[in-house]
Amino acid sequence: MSDDTDHPAPQEESLFEAPPMAEQERMCEAILFATAEPISAKEIEARMPHGCDAAEALVHLRKRYEGRGVHLVKVGDAWAMRTAPDLGFLMQKETVETRKLSRAAIETLAIIAYHQPVTRAEIEEIRGVSVSRGTVDQLLEMEWIRFGRRKMTPGRPVTFVVTQHFLDHFGLENARDLPGLKELRAAGLLENRPPPGEMPQMGEGDEDLNEETEEGQTELFED
């Protein structure tokens, strides 16, 4: 008992050496198989024995599952096991009937994904109509979008960004992997070009709504 405390840390470390990498890989595999939601390397590591390097083990594991019926995919800064998309046809039984999204909701989602962080006014400017509260609520409820930082423009409007859940759902590692993003940017179509004067402003009707949502949201912002 007293011996342990008398000696400095180095000895302790040698007592609890990190398991070999193959074993660490097994551990990551077990943890990932057990969870349905994406889980960060940090969280995985926290559950592994002291001294493990989850990030490295995950790289090995990902390679091991290449071409298999189940893949290790990266979702934002988290990881998850997912069945290979080409085998979807086997899973009719597992298919969950998703709520059919309205055209407005789909377009709003796409605009948020490609233009994020984007304010409600900017979405309205792009779609040319006001965005109904229900549309945004639906996307928030599905956890496909969330509030981002406030914009440093007059009124400090809230912005919307897509979530990890969104990335997971559409099999994206990163919001930068959105299809056609580069081309759209190159074509200048993701720019926020202010209209020259004397143009009718699109979808202005929702001022009060903005104010309403603005309150109480500050807590939701990271940093």
């Binding site: 998850a80 069945t83 998703t98 989602l109 792009i126 109509v129 299809p179």
Partner: protein
């Protein structure tokens, strides 16, 4: 049967055209605003949106609005706003530019409208591509049998040396041990002041110096007087806030006077 009729008539082209024209009118509510309608109209030009003729588009839109009016269809205000603006744009595009005129030129306005249409079109295509991707729960799947992570809560008890010493002192002094604290005898608390004043304001019909509310035994000793004065003053503010009394002071450093309200 009906297919045969179409073939016989040999007018498929004109029928579909007619149906499209009707659809435009009947489905006016189906459009998501003027921009959406403009985008639909632009398709009849069958050119790249970058090369679109905004003038032609403006004319198409205005014709559409005229038709809708002829059919006595209710058009939302923003459709009419857009119609008015496009009429204005049309005149700007047709007339030679007036150098004295302020603001953006007709070409600039037209270019921005074309940009808006192109951007909306691009977002429509992007959303179609997005929804066309493999989706979780439809094309690929998460673990069907997730295992729960059991949370084990381990309670670790702790104590500090001070706890230990205080514990011992408590026993040795038969429980009459308190951590070091200020001597509170010279203190007249806000609660005490409030209680005292609540009892007394009933008598304060006329303006009275709040100094007269200091309790007995708190006027001679400076420390006690200071504490009582501060608490009484704070209590007076509190009662003023509650609307029970009024406070006044004739000039800086003059005595504060208090009177019952109502």
């Amino acid at each position: 049967m009906s297919e045969d009729t179409f073939e016989e008539m040999g007018q498929i082209e004109s029928v579909t055209d007619r149906m499209a024209a009707e659809a435009l009118i009947v489905d006016v509510d189906g459009y998501e605003g003027p921009l959406d309608l403009l985008l639909t109209l632009s398709r009849t030009q069958k050119v790249d949106l970058r090369k679109i003729s905004v003038l032609q588009l403006a004319e198409q839109y205005l014709a559409f609005v005229e038709r809708a009016k002829a059919l006595r269809l209710e058009l939302a205000a923003d459709y009419l706003v857009m119609a008015a603006w496009l009429a204005f744009l049309k005149s700007r595009l047709l007339l030679p530019p007036d150098p004295t005129e302020e603001g953006p030129s007709g070409e600039e306005l037209a270019a921005h409208l074309a940009f808006q249409l192109e951007r909306l079109q691009a977002m429509r295509e992007a959303s179609a591509r997005l929804m066309g991707r493999d989706q979780l729960g439809r094309d690929f799947f998460a673990r069907g049998l997730p295992e729960d992570v059991t949370r084990i809560r381990r309670v670790q008890y702790t104590a500090t040396l001070l706890d230990l010493m205080q514990g011992y002192a408590r026993i040795r002094t038969r429980d009459e041990f308190r951590p070091y604290a200020f001597d509170r005898e010279a203190l007249f608390t806000l609660e005490q002041a409030l209680e005292r004043m609540r009892g007394l304001i009933g008598f304060a019909g006329t303006w009275t110096d709040i100094a007269s509310y200091l309790p007995d035994g708190f006027t001679a000793d400076p420390a006690r007087r200071r504490s009582a004065t501060a608490s009484t003053f704070a209590a007076a503010l509190e009662l003023t806030k509650e609307g029970k009394v009024e406070l006044r002071q004739s000039e800086v450093f003059a005595p504060l006077e208090l009177r019952r309200k109502g």
